[in-house]
């Protein structure tokens, strides 16, 4: 039976619904019966309640009447009687409403009502009797009691009846419910069991179908992820409903695997170094894209490996560096192309440069050779110059020795001078003492002169007195007057002489004072002289020691000159060796040039003038020899850097340095420049 899972599930659901409907039908009669019983029971419960209320109201009424009678309050009695009567009547009406169809019951209730009314009237009468305190009251009381008892009795009976009816109904209901409950439990159990069984059956069936599908799919995916692309799903193992799934998977695999296999084959070929032809088959969508990519890859590889790059590289292997990869590529191929081209460029430039450098080396070695020659000349000149220096140094040494001797004798002389100066100071001291003595004697002389002057003065006075006496004597004293006059004249003359002498003495005192002053000055000068002589002593001794030092220094210089001589000897050997080395260097540069020339270089056309024939002019210049050749070489060196600059900027500095050195070496006369600078440096070192 071929049923889909949806249909199976629907059948299951319908079966369950039918069973449930049957069960419901089966329980319908019982349910109605139960409902009726329940309604009757609930009606009876209400009836019992109303009857009980009636009973209570009647009893309350009875008691109230009795109490009222005892207190003899008519108003209260009437009020209470009315109240309870109304309540009882209402209960009765309720009961009638409840059992509207039952005639017997209605009659019974009407009976109650009548009794109640009767009791009420009796009660009212009783009160009246009580109030009038008639003897009839006892009778009425008994009547009332009787009526009341009757009423109560009938009510109680009624209640008993109702209670009995209620019990009966309850028993019935109980039985019905018990019966129904048992039946329902059995039915429910049966249905549940049925549903469980059906569900288990269906579940098993469906899970089996899905499991088989999943396992098959799992197999396929596992094998594909494991790389086995030839595995396909088995349709027969699967439920008819899911067979399309496996078929779809198989189709997908078929669509993928064929181009994949083809691509794998191509790639295998590429990996073993073959470049196969393009793929011709047409594919759809993304497979076509794969095909196109492979084709493009093949084209790129073919062009890079064989047509374009391969040719260039094989040419390079044959020492032809001129070829370059020209086509445009993408990504890493472009980079590779760039690198190969770069490599070839670099090799090209390097060889070109090597060629040029080897030329320059050969020029330079020639220069070195010439330079070494002139160095040797210079060294021999240096040696003769050194001998001259050494001779003049000997002279200088002798002179410094003489200097030292002179300084020593000078020292002696200055010492003598000092002694003489001291003697001079002594003499000056003596001279000062002498002058002092002269001054003293002058003083004494001046005193004497003063005395003479006084004597002359007194003589003058005497002469005057004599003249006076002569005048008084008159004629007799005339001769005496003449004598007195003569005496006075003498006195005057002696006074005059004394005055002159005094003047001279004063002059001499003054002169001797000056002499003393001059003497002190002279002494001061002598002191200064002795000081200066001391200083001269010091300076001269300094000069003596300095001359000694000078002499020692000159000896050291002599030693230095001897060492310098040795160095010069060595220099001459070295310069000869360097000339030999320069020759070797030139040979090696020539060899290097030959090796490099075997390569075909792209710039060969540009350099054909200076590159392939550089030997000829250089040889020519060297053959010619002397100045012109050197200058010709220099001009060529100047030209080459321009070409070099076009090729590569990086090496300009080195090149210019070299050329600069060469030019400087060529401009100056090497014969002159080399020995002098070197000897100078050596002298400076010493």
């Amino acid at each position: 039976m071929r049923l889909t899972i949806g249909k199976k599930l629907a059948i299951n659901l319908l079966l369950i619904i039918a069973v449930l409907l049957g069960l419901l039908w089966y329980f319908r009669a019982d349910a109605i019966k139960l409902k009726n019983n329940f309604n009757a029971y609930s009606f009876l419960i209400n009836e019992v309640k109303a009857a009980k209320d009636l009973q209570v109201n009647i009893v309350s009424f009875w008691r109230a009447v009795l109490e009222a009678a005892l207190v003899k309050d008519r108003d209260k009695i009437s009020f209470l009687a009315n109240k309870f009567n109304d309540k009882a009547l209402k209960n009765a009406d309720q009961l009638i409403l409840l059992n509207g169809d039952d005639q017997e019951f209605i009659a019974r209730i009407d009976n109650f009502r009548a009794s109640i009314k009767n009791t009420q009237s009796i009660g009212l009468r009783l009160f009246d009797s009580f109030i009038s305190e008639s003897t009839a009251s006892v009778k009425i009381v008994s009547e009332f009691d009787k009526a009341a008892d009757l009423l109560v009795q009938s009510v109680n009976n009624y209640i008993n009846d109702v209670m009995a009816k209620e019990d009966q109904s309850r028993e019935r209901l109980k039985a019905t419910i018990e019966n129904l409950t048992g039946t329902v439990i059995d039915a429910v159990l049966a249905i549940v069991l049925f549903i469980i069984i059906i569900s288990i059956i269906f579940n098993y069936n469906i899970s089996r179908i899905i499991k088989s599908l999943v396992s098959e799919t799992d197999n396929i995916t596992n094998s594909i992820t494991g790389g086995q692309l030839d595995i396909r799903g088995d349709v027969r193992k699967i439920n008819f409903e899911f067979q399309c799934v496996i078929e779809g998977i198989n189709n997908i695999l078929n669509a993928v695997v064929v181009p994949l296999h083809q691509a794998a084959g191509y790639i295998e070929k590429i990996s073993v170094g073959e470049i196969p032809k393009m793929i011709d088959q047409e594919y759809n969508g993304d497979f076509n894209k794969i095909k196109n990519n492979i084709n493009e890859c093949l084209a790129t590889l073919r062009s890079l490996m064989i047509d374009d790059g391969g040719k260039v590289l094989s040419a390079a292997a044959e020492k032809d560096l001129t070829g370059r990869i020209k086509k445009n590529y993408n990504g890493i191929y472009e980079k590779m192309k760039f690198n190969i081209n770069n490599l070839l460029d670099n090799l090209d430039i390097s060889f070109q440069k090597t060629l040029e450098i080897s030329e320059q080396v050969s020029y330079a070695s020639e220069d070195i050779r010439r330079g070494s020659k002139s160095l040797a000349n210079g060294v021999s000149k240096q040696a003769s110059a050194l001998e001259q220096i050494s001779a003049s140094l000997h002279e200088t040494n002798a002179m410094s020795k003489q200097n030292a001797g002179n300084a020593k004798s000078c020292l002696e002389m200055s010492k003598n001078t000092r002694a003489i100066t001291l003697k001079g100071v002594e003499s000056m001291k003596k001279l000062a003492a002498t002058i002092e003595k002269i001054k003293d004697s002058s003083d004494a002389t001046s005193k004497i002169i003063k005395t003479i002057d006084e004597i002359a003065f007194q003589t003058n006075i005497l002469a005057l007195n004599a003249a006076v006496e002569a005048a008084r004597a008159g004629e007799a004293g005339k001769g005496f007057a003449v004598v007195a006059d003569e005496v006075r004249n003498l006195a005057m003359r002696s006074a005059e002489a004394a005055q002159n002498t005094a003047k001279l003495i004063a002059d001499s005192v003054k002169n001797s004072d000056e002499g003393v002053n001059i003497n002190t000055e002279v002494m001061k000068n002598f002191d200064e002289i002795s000081e200066h002589v001391n200083k001269v002593n010091e300076v001269v001794s300094d000069i003596a020691s300095a001359s000694e030092h000078q002499r020692l220094g000159i000896e050291q210089i002599n030693e230095g000159i001897a060492q310098l001589n040795n160095v010069t000897q060595q220099n001459s050997i070295f310069s000869r060796e360097s000339a030999g080395a320069a020759g070797e260097l030139a040979d090696q540069a020539h060899q290097m040039r030959e090796i490099v020339s075997s390569f075909k270089i792209s710039y060969i056309s540009q350099n054909s003038a200076s590159g392939s024939q550089p030997k000829a002019p250089s040889r020519k210049s060297s053959d010619q020899g002397g100045g012109p050749g050197e200058f010709g070489g220099g001009r060529q060196f100047k030209k080459r850097p321009a070409v070099q600059a076009l090729v590569n900027d990086g090496d300009d500095d080195d090149f210019y340095d070299e050329s600069g050195r060469d030019e400087s070496g060529l401009k100056k006369d090497p014969k002159k420049i080399i020995p002098f600078t070197e000897s100078k440096n050596v002298l400076e070192e010493f």
Binding site: V468, A471, D485
Partner: protein, 180 residues
């Protein structure tokens, strides 16, 4: 010095004057000749008739006398004679000058009494004929013209001849002599 120069100059003059005086002694004897002793006072030359001079004394010790005019310096003892000493500078209203070794006292006869006058310096003895003595001028002199007898010009210098009679006329100098 100037004084000495003057003195030497005077000596020369004296010789010069004396030489002709000796040769022409008889001519000059006819005209009356006067002799004077000259002295210095405050730089001026004064003269005194030699006949009124007793003696020239080198400055001795002067004993002051109380209650005398300011120009009377005191008295001296000259060989037993007490002689009044007058300072001529003070007497002739000249500034006082301290005495030195050239200061001398000339003992003179004045109005009948003997007086010693203190002078700066005694110069020389001069001799002049009477006609060379001139009258003193009426004014322009440092001293009272009443004291001056006359003026003598010798060389370039002017010498006043003092009249001691008038000099001491109204002074207290004469009083002791009067008493004698």
């Amino acid at each position: 010095m100037s004084a000495e120069n003057v003195m030497t100059a005077d000596c020369i003059n004296n010789r010069n004057t004396q030489a002709p005086s000796d040769s022409e002694g008889k001519k000059q004897a006819e005209t009356e000749r006067f002799k004077f002793i000259t002295f210095l006072l405050n730089g001026e030359h004064y003269a005194i008739d030699i006949t009124s001079v007793y003696e020239i004394v080198i400055m001795p010790e002067i004993t002051p006398v109380p209650n005398t005019p300011f120009y009377i310096m005191g008295v001296i003892n000259l060989r037993g004679n007490i002689i009044q000493i007058v300072d001529m500078r003070l007497k002739l209203s000249m500034p006082f000058k301290k005495y030195d070794d050239k200061t001398c006292i000339v003992i003179i006869k004045a109005g009948g009494s003997t007086v010693g006058i203190v002078v700066d310096r005694v110069m020389e003895v001069i001799s002049e004929s009477a006609d060379k003595i001139e009258e003193p001028p009426a004014f322009g002199l440092k001293v009272d013209t009443g004291y001056i007898k006359g003026i003598v010009k010798i060389g370039g210098t002017i010498k006043f001849i003092l009249n001691f009679d008038t000099v001491f006329k109204d002074s207290g100098v004469e009083n002791p002599d009067d008493n004698e």
